[in-house]
Symmetry: C2
Subunit: 230 residues, 2 copies
């Protein structure tokens, strides 16, 4: 019996881990894929490795990306700003990041004969990145349909974005339901031992746990993980 295979993009954060839990629940043999792109929060990569082990992934590949920059997340465009409500795309936007990630997942997926790629993007409670929206996923699916061997042969790799239309609270409830190892995830852009509680990513995480009515199992600096013990 050959298992159906999937490449799962795994950052080590909350969303990608819960996306992996969905692939696991759906019975895929998982090839996990992470990237080292000089992100300040490299702690993610250690977490990703533990999470891949937790799920008995067939393989966990970490690709070093060169030449990715132009973002405060990679340290060459100023400091990471604290959370704020805003209209514009924040400085933490990394040019073409998800496009690169999906491209690598696609090459990897074609090489191992995967049927699907899982990506934990979310268009509801997100940071305003253009490459987290359904239009983007649809457009990339079309690239796969017309630009790959499997695609033109009528069996394109399918992009699965199981969190796309969920709120952060719904995502966390899904993770709890799937018994995802939320204690192994990290979200903070600063990547310290304790989450800062102030960057966009922490604030969204905290709001999500509060919305889900679930206690966040990871440690925060001081008490600013506000409401964690509610």
């Amino acid at each position: 019996m050959t298992s159906k295979k999937a490449v799962v993009l795994l950052s080590g954060g909350l969303d990608s881990t819960i996306s992996l839990s969905v692939a696991y629940q759906e019975g895929y043999l998982v090839y996990a894929l992470s990237f080292d792109y000089g992100q300040k929060h490299r702690r993610e990569l250690e977490n990703a490795s533990r999470i891949a082990s937790y799920y008995y992934c067939k393989e966990h590949r970490v690709i070093t990306l060169e030449g990715v920059g132009g973002s405060s997340l990679t340290g060459d465009r100023g400091d990471i700003p604290p959370y704020e409500e805003r209209e514009e795309i924040p400085s933490t936007y990394v040019p073409a990041r998800n496009i690169l990630f999906l491209s690598y997942a696609l090459g990897y997926g074609e090489a191992v004969g995967a049927k699907a790629i899982f990506i934990g993007v979310n268009a509801v409670d997100y940071s305003g990145y253009p490459d987290c929206r359904p239009e983007f996923i649809d457009a990339f699916q079309q690239v796969i349909r017309v630009g790959t061997k499997a695609g033109v042969e009528g069996r394109p790799i399918i992009i699965k974005a199981p969190l796309l239309n969920l709120t952060k609270g719904e995502i966390i409830r899904l993770g709890v339901k799937n018994k995802a190892p939320l204690h192994l995830t990290t979200s903070c852009y600063h990547g310290g031992d304790k989450a800062c509680g102030r960057c966009d990513s922490c604030v969204l995480r905290i709001k999500g746990f509060a919305e889900a009515g679930v206690k966040d199992p990871i440690p925060y600096q001081e008490c600013q993980g506000g409401g964690l013990d509610n």
Copy 2:
């Protein structure tokens, strides 16, 4: 005065060099981008470097791609086959190659503020790769439109594929007209000092020069560059 900028994908082959000559003619300040993906014909990269110098490119970045494989071109899927007429996609197909190349070009282009990306793909006299067709370019353009900051802000980077609808002969005539340094280009998949004259890439090149009625300035093994001296 700020010059308009373009990222030019430059393999060191005939098509990418002539595509660069078009960018140069159109007045772009060029950021050349090449990839080391373990291809057997790495000689291309030295040629790319000479060609970038020839055109006074603002920068020539060579990105090392990890984890690209599943092709006879990268040495992990058998030998490079000699040329033949065929219906199916050849084993020299590298999964998601142009998708990865365009993704990197896009990230680079966003970081330097480029208006265009030049890619030397050709859908007429090509090797049957799905990612060399207009449908593919259109699909990727849509990804840029909806998945990048510049795109959603209404000024997407434009993919220019000036050779897309030309025959190999027309491409070579364009190169001659633009005074492109054809003597610095290499096409052979084997990458030796002299071109083999037998692989897909050599055969297409030889046919092209014959069609254009132009002498190919590069050396071939024996006389199998047939018709070069006509």
